[in-house]
Assembly symmetry: C2
Homo-oligomer: 337 residues x 2
């Protein structure tokens, strides 16, 4: 149905090699030949068949982004960043959900092995040993970069926000407002971001002579629901904190929502801060004071590192790109009563 390079060669009276060169290295071909070939190409709307090209070049011209949950809107900005960068390089973006298996029962990671993707951007720090083995078996361990999250054990380049610094900004700000009794509304226990942020908060509190006892940590995950549950714990506390710093904006929103049901309002009764600066934060009521992560930038940087890796540029095994975060002061925080 569709024309092949052979047809174009025949039609323009040159060899397939010349057609190929005209298309991918025009400078290697006489101007005259080039024009001759290009005319036929355009006339017939010829496009190289990328499957054949990829087979020959041993390159898929696409990379895989693996997320813990495709349905989580948090990732969309990161995808946008990845795609921005990749499209400049003519590379496609394949996305997959870490939970979904191929019908064969094999993990999505096997796609790398199948030569479907040239590399992997992993947005899920919860990286099982099995996944690591599979990666090793694929000979692709050196074409992986983690974005946003990263595996605790290390061993891969990673692009991340400066989570500790973010918490320092948050705590400094709250402490500056006069808060002395600050709680932490936590993300998932094993999650590296949660661990990092909690540690950051603790460090920053210590710098102000304050502490973060376990009793002032609300365990949960990053979700709205967990925030709402935390509200329940909050109201039952003997000595209520005057401020809560949350591990995510969704937690903060859930918390504020939950507290309001008990007649406790932010920032009047308690200051609440989020982390992430997701799109709705600025429009929440009260608008959320939060730490802004550059999610687009995370995507762009991760893609950049991966493209380098694919190009064979050497990137240290534990290379870390850390992106700055910033404090967004809005309406959910105030001086303590």
């Amino acid at each position: 149905m569709s024309l092949s390079i052979k047809d174009i060669a025949r039609l323009s009276g040159v060899s397939t090699a010349t057609v190929s060169r005209t298309l991918s290295a025009p400078e290697k071909v006489t101007r005259q030949t080039r024009e001759q070939v290009m005319q036929v190409v355009e006339e017939h709307g010829y496009r190289v068949n990328s499957m054949a090209r990829n087979l020959r070049r041993q390159r898929a011209d696409s990379v895989l982004a693996l997320v813990p949950d495709l349905g989580n809107p948090f990732f969309s900005a990161i995808f946008a960043g990845i795609q921005d960068r990749l499209s400049q390089a003519g590379v496609d973006l394949l996305v997959a959900d870490n939970r979904s298996l191929h019908p064969s029962g094999r993990s999505v990671l096997s796609q790398l092995r199948d030569a479907r993707a040239d590399g992997l951007i992993c947005l899920d720090g919860g990286f099982s040993d099995e996944a690591r083995r599979e990666l090793a078996a694929s000979g692709m361990e050196n074409r992986v970069v983690f974005a946003c999250e990263w595996p605790m054990a290390g061993g891969f380049p990673s692009v991340r926000s400066d989570n500790r610094e973010g918490m320092r900004l948050a705590i400094d700000y709250l402490a500056g407002l006069g808060h002395r009794c600050i709680a932490y509304c936590a993300g998932p226990a094993g999650n590296v971001l949660n661990i990092e942020r909690r540690a950051g908060a603790q460090e920053a509190l210590a710098a102000h002579g304050l502490t973060l006892p376990d009793s002032r940590v609300f365990e949960g995950d990053f979700s709205l629901q967990a925030g709402e549950k935390a509200a329940q714990v909050f109201v039952e506390m003997a000595e209520r904190p005057t401020a809560v710093i949350c591990a995510s904006d969704q937690l903060a929103m859930g918390l504020i929502h939950g507290l309001s049901k008990h007649g406790i309002h932010a920032p009047r009764d308690v200051s609440v801060m989020g982390f992430d600066d997701i799109i709705t934060s600025a429009y929440f009521l009260p608008a959320l004071t939060t730490i802004r992560q550059n999610r687009l930038g995370l995507g762009v940087e991760a893609a950049t590192v991966l493209l380098d890796l694919i190009d064979g540029k050497s990137v240290p095994r534990d290379h870390v790109v850390t992106l700055p975060v910033s404090l967004q002061i809005r309406a959910s925080t105030a001086v303590p009563r």
Copy 2:
């Protein structure tokens, strides 16, 4: 570096054809041969090279999802639905942003032509004539399905929510509450969803003997910012509506946020409804009364139709799958004062 089917054939003492059959049609091979081959396969961790397979089979085993803006979190649930369905069929999901061009300057649609994808799920109803031509040139017009949005001119199968019915539910509910003066906060002027929803609202209002004069329509787009701008218009109205139905949840949130700056609060002073039921709606303050779209379902159905199309099953050119919507009554609406 990595083993090919030839190596496996040699190592297990059979021909490449037999290895291929063992892997893709095991029933065509003796049990003994099968075991013999599989042992070698597993021992060496052999995986077929999908580029070679795809070249030979003339199939990419992947589909492209095209969105107007990858960064818009609205789409994530749809992606999740698409991927769920595709992964069952062993098909990969490629995503692309309609705005981004390949370095060659060609539109992403040319990927179809390049044989990189077997079909297209388009989430962007704003389908230019040029895009349509490019699609026609690729011989892929019959492997396209629209999800969520669809092109006004028709001509492609489409999966969508029952937008009119959604507006009927909304208006019936507001009218039942006693509202007589209802405004519409609009999405982008040319957008098919906006047009459909506005028409739906108008119809439903008429059924209650009410009207929607242009003066009571706030023009905008689907964004939070547009909602906030609408608030400005609202406060300057001579006769203020008692309720506003918005074309999206983000509009509703922006509107409520904007109004609150003028001391106008939902639902006390005005009832505000959204459309979509995005993830944060239930946790907004006030929790948003809205029309729920089954975004995951949209993705699943769209993928299903596309897979049928790819399998060569006949799907009428203008086949439409309409998914039901539902009314979510929450806290942003009340009887008029």
